[in-house]
């Protein structure tokens, strides 16, 4: 097998396509395991994407772009955490508002960058894409180990299952939830940054094109387990890569639009299968989406 082997090329392309979704889904996993439903994921990715492009374009360093994207989305996530964990606003409504805010904000900030390219920084980032791909896989393995074998991981699982239990033991529920929303948002931002700096080094309005929603679906598909997220992301990456090749090649026996739809169909099927399981087996954090209020009676 050589590097030009079409199968291998397709697999490589699949891994690259999978990476932004992988980062975003892992970020969402941390947030949801902490019991917070973050529907602002698409908005966070866009904030990450536009920040990364602006900084990389200005500084000429793609790495600086990535770091700033993480910081900016972490701050964006901090706002979300303050609203839903601190003020206990409705998580669904607030999350959707964050998505709309993120998409509007990124369009506003990025309007003078439309059509620009990154030049040398872009080609350097594309050359280093393997590092980011490996980084995503490493994050997934680390997340799995963290959840399973560490005490902070146990606390994270408990945050989504029964925060009142942690509180009664004198462990900090609200700070921990905020921490995971911010950390997870940073990872989501990295996923967005990967799109605008590595995948297609440019900025276009709404360029994440629904990858945030796919990541959200992936978390459910993976039943809140990190390694299954990798499997799901790669599966999606394969579909994406195949779709791209089919479009470029012009000939395809499956309509690319049909392929676009598949991840959502898979999610619905998984949800349907899940409904037949007992609550403990399904893996959904029991108190996902419920704000913790100590004195509520």
């Amino acid at each position: 097998m050589t590097l030009s082997d079409p199968t291998l090329l397709l697999l490589g392309a699949a891994l690259v396509s999978a990476t932004p979704i992988l980062y975003a889904a892992l970020g969402e996993l941390l947030i949801e395991r902490a019991g917070v439903l973050n529907l602002g994921i698409e908005g966070s990715m866009l904030v990450g994407a536009v920040t990364a492009f602006m900084v990389a374009h200005g500084s000429g360093s793609s790495l600086a772009g990535m770091v700033c994207a993480i910081l900016a989305t972490a701050a964006f996530g901090g706002v979300f955490a303050a609203l839903v964990v601190g003020l206990r606003l409705n998580q669904v409504v607030t999350g959707l508002a964050m998505t709309i805010l993120g998409s509007g904000l990124s369009a506003f900030l990025g309007q003078s960058y439309v059509g620009l390219t990154l030049g040398a920084a872009g080609s350097a980032a594309t050359a280093a894409s393997g590092l980011y791909v490996a980084g995503g896989l490493a994050c997934a393995v680390l997340a799995a180990l963290f959840l399973r074998y560490t005490r902070p991981g146990l606390l994270l699982r408990t945050l989504g299952e029964n925060p009142a239990a942690l509180d009664a033991l004198g462990l900090p529920v609200v700070p921990l939830r905020c921490l995971y929303v911010i950390l997870g948002s940073g990872l989501i931002g990295l996923g967005g940054a990967f799109i605008s700096v590595v995948l297609t080094p440019s900025w276009v309005e709404n360029m994440t094109a629904g990858r945030g929603w796919i990541a959200l679906a992936l978390v459910i598909f993976a039943r809140w387990r990190a390694l299954w997220i990798v499997a799901g992301a790669v599966l999606f990456g394969l579909i994406d890569a195949y779709r791209f090749r089919a479009q470029v090649g012009g000939a395809s026996w499956i309509d690319p639009h049909f392929l676009n739809m598949l991840p959502y169909v898979a999610t619905l099927v998984v949800l349907g299968l899940q409904s037949r399981r007992s609550a403990q087996g399904a893996g959904t954090p029991t108190l996902l989406g419920v704000a913790y209020d100590r004195e509520r009676r």
Partner: protein, 503 residues
């Protein structure tokens, strides 16, 4: 974590209190849940904290364990002030509470739950308990499988796990909030033996309970609360249950009418080979058959989780049976008998609707109502329901503002309109204070005396022996004992309740 705590200071041979609440006041909006609550707990004591629902017992205990921040007052442990509103501070000073709603994570194993409390500061999670936990288990006489996930444990095991966890945290003041409501008499007996062993080491236990017999059995001192205030504090010895009940309810009289005569009428309810599946997919009611005749008041008892709740849910139409038959005397079209589900808010009542609208639920198709709801008829109906048990509240106000006792009064009032010939009530007195419970019991007795068949589930054996004419004991989803009340006693019922556990 398990640092050695200072020995309680001794003054002139008199032991100083382990902890004291001083002038604790806590308001929720306009409601004063605790008003200047002051009492102390000495080492080696079992203090029974008594009072009706809403008397402020749980609020006071939540202040003690740091979950509620009081508006005024202080708490002292070992005569030094405790930082208020911080569960971490309370835990560190040796206060441990076993809440009525267990604070366990169901999806985690028993050990992981204990570990949450004791393994602070480590990074890698241990899978197996340390020798310390094993020693503690041996000391208190528990035999728990620490690798078992909590959702597969019985309620009694979960309670042991909670107690173990609290002790492992180094608690010296153990608060037990209605600990026996999930236990069989034998298990309660074991719990009280444990309580005596715990206090033998200069620790103290605060026990919240509604069951006066157990209080007389185990408590050394009583603290009685009413309307958010401490109204009595004194030794428990030499007090009868009646005296204690009098302290709890104050001046109001509480008496339960005599049990209905056993003149039996026609069959009102026939259950044949009934099977009902529980949450886990296994049968929680297995092959149950019995009849209830007019004039009978039949009580279904058992340790929580042995199928009683599912049986009554199936009869009430809330769960579809997976086999067998339920025959009631009133035809097939809609339920025409009274049904009081175990949970009032959310099942029997819609929390967001007004009292008026709630009194219409289920009867909105009966006369005089039709597709058009005449305001006058609705008002009159609501007044009838409210007057049944004397609930004084504005008909248009949201029902969730009512107290637990009043909610149950509304449910039962609504269901008893039109004098149904069959009444099915699932735990109708659970969580109610003495006065409300007595009123509900009297209503059920009155229905039976008027010739209706009454079937109720209850977790209070003494209640059943007082008011029921017949007792069904369930264990492992089967009816293991079916006796007229006169032909059985507490010991026998207790034996049958725990019978299946051995097999």
């Amino acid at each position: 974590m398990n640092a050695t705590f200072p020995v309680p200071p001794q003054m002139n041979g008199i032991t100083a209190p382990l902890c004291s609440l001083v002038g604790v006041t806590k308001r929720f909006g306009k409601i004063v849940a605790n008003d200047d609550v002051t009492f102390s707990v000495m080492p080696g004591e079992v203090v029974a904290l008594l009072g009706e629902n809403g008397a402020g017992k749980s609020t006071a205990m939540n202040v003690l364990c740091g979950l509620y921040l009081p508006d005024a007052g202080t708490v002292e442990v070992d005569e030094r002030p405790l930082v208020l509103g911080s569960p971490a501070a309370s835990v560190a000073r040796g206060i441990g509470m076993v809440h009525q709603q267990f604070k366990l994570v169901l999806s985690l194993t028993a050990y992981e739950n204990v570990s949450l409390a004791v393994d602070r500061g480590r990074f890698w999670q241990r899978k197996r308990p340390s020798g310390e936990i094993e020693r503690l288990m041996a000391e208190v006489g528990f035999e728990l499988d620490m690798a078992k996930p909590v959702w597969r444990m019985s309620l009694a095991e979960r309670q042991q796990l909670e107690i173990l966890r609290v002790l492992a945290q180094g608690a010296r003041i153990l608060v037990l909030d209605e600990p026996t409501s999930v236990l069989s008499p034998l298990e309660s007996e074991r719990l009280f033996m444990l309580v005596r062993r715990i206090i033998a080491r200069d620790r103290a236990v605060i026990l919240i309970s509604h069951k006066l017999s157990e209080i007389r059995q185990v408590a050394s001192r009583l603290v009685v609360m009413r309307g958010g205030r401490v109204v009595f504090e004194g030794p428990a010895s030499g007090r009868t249950s009646e005296e204690i009940a009098g302290l709890i309810v104050g001046t109001r009289s509480v008496c339960v009418s005599p049990r209905p005569s056993s003149a039996k009428g026609p069959d009102r309810l026939t259950v044949e080979n009934l099977r009902v599946k529980g949450h886990s997919g296994r049968d929680s009611v297995r092959d149950v058959s019995f009849r209830v005749q007019g004039g009978e008041l039949v009580a279904v008892v058992g340790v929580a989780g042995n199928g009683q709740a599912e049986l009554l849910d199936a009869i009430g139409g809330q769960k579809a049976p997976s086999g067998g038959r339920i025959v009631t005397s009133d035809g097939r079209k809609g339920r025409r008998f009274a049904f009081v589900p175990a949970q009032h808010l959310g099942v029997a009542l819609a929390p967001g609707l007004s009292i008026e609208d709630n009194t219409l639920l289920g009867v909105h198709r009966r006369r005089p109502f039709s597709a058009w709801m005449a305001r006058r008829d609705v008002r009159r109906h609501c007044r009838t329901v409210q007057d049944m048990f004397g609930v004084a509240a504005e008909p248009g106000s949201p029902i969730r503002r009512l107290s637990g006792g009043n909610l149950q009064r509304i449910v039962l009032g609504r269901e008893l309109v039109g004098d149904p010939a069959l009444v099915v009530a699932s735990y109708p007195t659970r969580g109610l204070d003495i006065a409300a419970a007595a009123q509900i019991r009297n209503a059920l007795i009155a229905r039976a005396a008027a010739g209706a068949a009454v079937l109720m589930a209850s977790e209070e054996l003494e209640e059943c022996l007082t008011i029921a004419t017949r007792i069904l004991v369930m264990s492992g989803g089967r009816v293991v004992l079916d006796r007229e009340t006169g032909q059985t006693n507490l010991d026998e019922i207790g034996r049958f309740m725990t019978a299946a556990e051995a097999s």
